[in-house]
Symmetry: C2
Subunit: 651 residues, 2 copies
C-alpha cells in the first residue's frame, strides 16, 4: 500500500507483436509478457526448470535470466530465460518462434491485462481537507507556580492552562490521572505535557489520559489493526505527522482451532472456550505490538489509542462476547456497536488509560472489516454509485454512495481460497497465480508464487485459468471442456474431463497438476453467488448493474484479481478498468484512517446507521439471479457485451 508507488516504471516492448507494457523494476519478464498479452511457453511456473521460455534481449538490460538450460554462448547472443529474468531498464524483447508458437494468430486476441488503480493513502490530502485529526493530541503547558493568592488545586491549574493556552474546554479527568498530577507538575517547574483523547461523538467530552513532566508533545503514537480470521495485521502510526512507522502481520493464533469462523464459534461454545479464543487473539495482537515497536525508540506506555476491525465473529472473540447466535438462525450477534473501551480491559498490553476503538458491524455476516473498508476507501463520501466487494470464503458486498448504502454477505464457498478445487491451494510458494495459453497449441504459460515449480493453483490463478480456457474455447459457457480440441492437455481424468496445467515432471509434487469440470463447477458457483449478490442488491434499490460508476475491490484475493478475467467469467460486472480501485486490506485501511481522523470515527456511526443489510437468502430474487449466474459469463449475455463480442469472434 505504501512505498510501491515510488518504484521506477520501465517500458518493455515485445517483438514481433510490438506490444508494450509498463512495469516496475524487478518484475519478472514473464509477468510483463502476461500483462502485455504476449504468450511465452512456460509450464514450469517460472522456476527455470523447463527452459522453454527463452527470449532474446534486443535492447536494454535484464537482471538474471540464466540457468544450466542456457549456454554461456547463448547468453552472450542475448538469449534469456524469461521466467528468470527481471526488468531493470526499458527493454525490447524478441519472443522466439520456439516460445511463441502461432504467435501471429494470437497477437490480437489475447487482451492486454488491466491492473486497477491501487488506493494510495495520502496524508497530505487528509491535512488539506481538514480531515487529519488524530484522536489523541498532546498539549504542552507552561503553568504558573501556586502562590498564596493563587492556590487552586493541581487539577484546576491544568484545566485552566488548557483553557487559557489552547481554548480546550470541558475536559474530563480520570482517577489514575489525578494520582499523577502532583508529582508531574513539580518535576519540571510546572511545565507538563497533557495527552488528550478526543471523544468520538461531537457532544462527547475530551478526556485527559496522560500527563508527563516537561515538553514531550512531539511523541504521540497510535496503532491500527485488522483482525482477520486467518491473519492479523498491525501498523504503528505517528499521530503527530500521520506517518506509518512500521507494519507487521502474523497468523491469528486461533487458527489451530479451525480455519473458518464457524469452527471458532464452535470452540468458543465449549467450556472455557470463549476465554481461550479471546486470549489467543489478544496474544497475537500483543505479540505484534512488541514487533511493531521493536526497532523504534517508542515505548509501550506512549501509545494511547488503538483501533481494531474485524468480522463480527472476530470482534466478538476479541471482546469476549458470546458468538453462539451468530451461527444459528436467525443469526443474532450480541452487539454491532462497541463502546470505546480501556485497552487493558480486554488484555491489551498498553497503558491503563489507552483507549481501544473497535469498528462496528452491520450484522452477523457483514462485519466491522467491511465497515472499515467502506470508511477507509472513501466510499461513504463519494457521489459515484459504487460497488465494494471483499472476496473471500464469504464475500461481502456493499452498494451505494454517500447518500445510501446497502450491504449483504453471500457464501461464495472456499473456491477463491483454493478450497474444494482438486489442486487448489492457498496463495503460497508454488501456487500458480497467473496463466496464459497459446491459442494454437493450448500450451500453458504458468507463473507461480516465488517462482517455484508448481504444486497447485491459488484463487487468483484459478480465475485466470478458467477465464483463459473459456476465452479460447477450451471450455464452453456451461464450464464443460471442448472434447474436440486436439491437445494432450485436455483429457478424461478420474473426475471427468480435465486440463493439465503442468506435467508431473515439471511440477513440484508427484502428479500432474490439473483443473477439471468439478473444479470449474465449484468456481462457477462461487463467482455466480457474488455476481448474483451484486445484481440482487443493485436491482433491489431500483438500479441496474450498468449504472455502477465505480468498483472497489478489497481483500487478499481482491488485491490480486485480474480484472479482465473477472469480467470474462462474470465474477464482476463489466465496467471500464479505470473505474476499478484496489484497496488491498480494506479493514486495516479503515482502522488506519480512524487513527488519523476523528472525523471518520464520528462519521462511522452515521454510516452504519445508514447501511441497510439484506439477507440474500431471504430474497426470492436472489435464487433466480444465482441460477442465471451459473453460466460463463452469465445466462444473459447482454450484461457482458465486451465478452460477448470476443466470444462471437472466437466462435
Amino acid at each position: 500500500m505504501d512505498g510501491e508507488n515510488n518504484n521506477i516504471m520501465y517500458q518493455v516492448s515485445f517483438m514481433p507483436s510490438g506490444r508494450q507494457v509498463e512495469v516496475a523494476a524487478g518484475v519478472s519478464l514473464i509477468k510483463a509478457a502476461h500483462l502485455a498479452g504476449v504468450h511465452i511457453n512456460a509450464s514450469c511456473g517460472g522456476s527455470g526448470v523447463c527452459g522453454k521460455c527463452r527470449v532474446i534481449l534486443e535492447s536494454g538490460t535484464l537482471e538474471g535470466g540464466k540457468s544450466e538450460k542456457l549456454t554461456d554462448a547463448e547468453y552472450k547472443e542475448g538469449y534469456r530465460q524469461a521466467c528468470l529474468a527481471t526488468v531493470a531498464t526499458n527493454a525490447t524483447i524478441r519472443v522466439t518462434a520456439e516460445s511463441e508458437l502461432g504467435a501471429g494468430s494470437m497477437s490480437t486476441e489475447v487482451p492486454i491485462r488491466h491492473q486497477a488503480r491501487m488506493h494510495v493513502f495520502n496524508i497530505d490530502a487528509l491535512k488539506k481537507e481538514g480531515v487529519f485529526a488524530p484522536p489523541i493530541e498532546k498539549r504542552v503547558l507552561h503553568l504558573p507556580e501556586p502562590t498564596q493568592e493563587d492556590n487552586k488545586a493541581d487539577a484546576g491549574r491544568i484545566i485552566q492552562g488548557l483553557k487559557k493556552e489552547y481554548d480546550e474546554r470541558g475536559m474530563i479527568t480520570t482517577l489514575p490521572l489525578l494520582k499523577k498530577m502532583r508529582s508531574a507538575l513539580r518535576e519540571n517547574d510546572f511545565v507538563v505535557t497533557v495527552t488528550l483523547s478526543r471523544a468520538v461523538s461531537k457532544e462527547g467530552k475530551t478526556h485527559i489520559v496522560n500527563i508527563e513532566p516537561g515538553d514531550v508533545s512531539h511523541r504521540n503514537y497510535g496503532l491500527a489493526f485488522d483482525i482477520g480470521t486467518t491473519t492479523v495485521h498491525g501498523i504503528l502510526i505517528d499521530h503527530q505527522t500521520g506517518k506509518l512507522l512500521s507494519r507487521k502481520s502474523d497468523y491469528n493464533a486461533q487458527i489451530s482451532y479451525g480455519e473458518d469462523v464457524i469452527s471458532r464459534i464452535i470452540h468458543a461454545e465449549k467450556p472455557k472456550g470463549l476465554q481461550l479464543m479471546h486470549e489467543l487473539v489478544i496474544n497475537t495482537i500483543n505479540g505484534l505490538i512488541t514487533k511493531l515497536l521493536l526497532k523504534t525508540d517508542i515505548r509501550r506506555n506512549e501509545i494511547f489509542s488503538i483501533t481494531l476491525s474485524g468480522n463480527t465473529t472476530m470482534t466478538h472473540l476479541l471482546l469476549s462476547l458470546e458468538p453462539h447466535n451468530i451461527r444459528r438462525a436467525p443469526y443474532v450477534p450480541v452487539s454491532t456497536f462497541f463502546p470505546p473501551i480501556r485497552a487493558r480491559d480486554v488484555g491489551l498490553e498498553l497503558p491503563l488509560r489507552a483507549v481501544a476503538l473497535v469498528y462496528p458491524s452491520i450484522s452477523s455476516y457483514v462485519g466491522g472489516d467491511i465497515v472499515a473498508g467502506v470508511m477507509g476507501s472513501g466510499m461513504y463520501r463519494t457521489e459515484k454509485l459504487t460497488l465494494y466487494v471483499d472476496i473471500g470464503t464469504n464475500a461481502e458486498i456493499v452498494i451505494g454512495n454517500r447518500d445510501w448504502l446497502v450491504c449483504a454477505a453471500c457464501s461464495a464457498g472456499p473456491a477463491f481460497e483454493g478450497g474444494g478445487i482438486t489442486h487448489g491451494m492457498r496463495a503460497a510458494a508454488g501456487a500458480i497465480e497467473d496463466f496464459s495459453l497459446n491459442p494454437a497449441t493450448y500450451e500453458p504459460m504458468n507463473i507461480t508464487i516465488g517462482h517455484k515449480p508448481p504444486i497447485g493453483i491459488c484463487g487468483s490463478g484459478l480465475l485466470v485459468v478458467i477465464a483463459t480456457l473459456f476465452e479460447y474455447g477450451a471450455i464452453d459457457r456451461r464450464g464443460k471442456f471442448n472434447r474436440k480440441l486436439e491437445t494432450p492437455r485436455i483429457r478424461e481424468g478420474q473426475s471427468g474431463y480435465e486440463y493439465v496445467l503442468t506435467w508431473k515432471e515439471e511440477a513440484g509434487g508427484d502428479s500432474d497438476i490439473v483443473i477439471n469440470e468439478v473444479d470449474i463447477e465449484n468456481f462457477t458457483r462461487a463467482k455466480g453467488a457474488i455476481y448474483a449478490g451484486c445484481k440482487t442488491l443493485v436491482e433491489g434499490v431500483g438500479l441496474q448493474v450498468t449504472d455502477l460508476e465505480q468498483i472497489i475491490l478489497a481483500g487478499a484475493f481482491g488485491s490480486y484479481i485480474d480484472l479482465d478475467s473477472a469480467m470474462t467469467v462474470g465474477l464482476l460486472p463489466e465496467i471500464a478498468p479505470e473505474k476499478i480501485l484496489y484497496v488491498g486490506n480494506g479493514s486495516l485501511l479503515g482502522s488506519w484512517m480512524s487513527e488519523m481522523s476523528n472525523h471518520i470515527r464520528r462519521d462511522v456511526v452515521q454510516v452504519v446507521r445508514k447501511m441497510t443489510s439484506f439477507e440474500l437468502s431471504e430474497v426470492t430474487d436472489f435464487k433466480d439471479q444465482y441460477i442465471a449466474s451459473l453460466f460463463l459469463p452469465h445466462t444473459d449475455l447482454s450484461l457482458f457485451p465486451a465478452t460477448s463480442a470476443r466470444l462471437t469472434k472466437t466462435d
Copy 2:
C-alpha cells in the same frame, strides 16, 4: 435524624414556678427541668448517687426515680429522684425546698432553653417538587424474540426497547455489560430488567450498568457515606421508594495513625503510607457495607451507586491522591473535583459497574463534607441570607444564599471536642453535657451522658457551663472568676481560680472536676475564632451579622449545642431561635440527598463554582475581629442586645 419526630410529646409542669416544657417520652426529668429553666440540685450528673435531686410527683406518671437514697414510704408519698425518673405521661412536678434552694429568686432569671428545629428529611416533599430522581433507575423490558425479519443484535434490541417502551435515548453500554446480554435475554424469554445510571451533567448520557433476566425492577439500592476524620457513617437507601433501610457507623480505621488530618497526611507521606491510609479507610467502608446489608435480603451486587463525602484530606486518602501539599503553604490539593469513578477502582467491594461519586471540595480546608452540607440542608437554594457552621477542631463557615456563597475555614482549636481543657473529654459516658446553677447558692445541676457519675466535661457541656457561670456573674466578661462570691465551689486551684463542678466523692474519678480560667481562655479563643470568622465573611460581602436570616448548625458538636448558651458567650450571632436549624451530620445528609436526586448532583457543580473561598489568615480584618471577640460575649455589646440586657439586670 429519622424517626425521632414520631415520638409522642408530653407536657411537664414544674411547681411552684409553674414553668412548663414539652418533651418526648423517655426524657429524664432533670433534663426536662433544665429545658424549663428550673433548678434542681444534682451534682452527681444524674447517676442517682447524691440523692439531692428529689422532687414530688403531683400528677401523671414517671418511670423509675428510685434508688436506696429513697425509702419505700417516701416513694409512695410521691417522692422521686429527678435524675433517675423519665417522663411517661403529662405530669406535674413539685420541686422541693431542699432541691430548689432560693427558687423564688431565680424563676424569672433562668431562661427557658431553646432547641432549634431539627432538619427533617422529607422524601414526599422531594417527590412533590420533582427533585426525587435517583441516579440509578431500573426499567423492565418485554422484548420481541428475534426472527428472520428482525435479527438485530441483542444490544440493539435492548436499546430499541428502551427507546420504544420508555423513550430512553442515547444510552451507553460498556463491555462487561455486553458480555451479559446474550444469556440474560434468553434466560427469561426476552424479559429483562435494565439498570440505568444517569449522568451527572445534563448533556451527559445515561449508562446501562446492569441487565438481569426477568422483572426485578423493584430492587434498586444505593449507599451514602460520610467519611469523617474520626468516624465513618454509612446508610443504605432504597432508590425505588427513597426509604432509609439501615444506618451504621464505625471509627475510621486510620485513627490509629493520629486523630487529625495533619498527622494522617504525615503518615501518607511515608513510603507506602498513602496506600496504607487508603486501604484503612476503604476497609472501614467495606466493613460498614457488610454491616448495612446484614439484616436485609439485599445482595452486594444489587448496589450500583454510592456517594461519599468528606473533608479534602479524607477525600484525597480515599482516592489515593497525594495529600502532601494540603499541609504546606500555599495549601494546594491535587484536585477539588472528582470524576465519577468505578467503585471497584478504589477498592470498594461493589459490582464492577457500580459508580462512586465523591463530593467536590472548595479548597484544602473547606472540603466535600461542607459542600455536602450546603447541598443537603438546602442552603444552596434558599432565598434567606444563611450562615452555615460546622463546628469541630476546624470550623467551616459558609455564608450566602441561592445567589452567592462565600466560605472559609478557621482553626478553632480542640476545645469544642474537649481538648486543651483540664477535665475536657469527648462526648462519651460520664461527660457533663448539661448544667445549670442555683443562683443563690451557686450549686450545680449536672447532667452526664449515660447518667454515669461525672468524669469530665464534653464540648457542649463546656459551652453551657461557661455561659451559665457568665450569666450568673460567677465569671466576668474577660472570663475571670468573681473572687468575692461566697461559695466553696469557687476557689484558687493549681492553674489559678476555678469552679468545682463535682466533688471527688460524687465524681467517677478520684479528683474534683473543675473548670479554671485557663480552660475558659481556651474556650473563648475557640468561640472567638468562629464568631470573628462569621463576622469577617459577612462584612466582607458588605453585610452585617444582624442581616442573617437563618443559621444552620452541622456536625456532632453543632447538633448538641444549646442555642441560648451559644449566643450568651458570643459563639453565634444573636438571632431568634426559630431561625436556627440543626442538620446533624451535614456531610452524610448531602450524600444521602445526592443518592435521592440527580438534580442535586448536577447543581453541586454550579454551587461549587459559585462558592468563593476566603483565606481568613490573609484578611487583615480577621485579626482585629478575632481580638474583639475574645470577650464574653464580645467587645462590642451592641452586637448582643439580649445578652446585654440580661447582664445589665444582673449587675
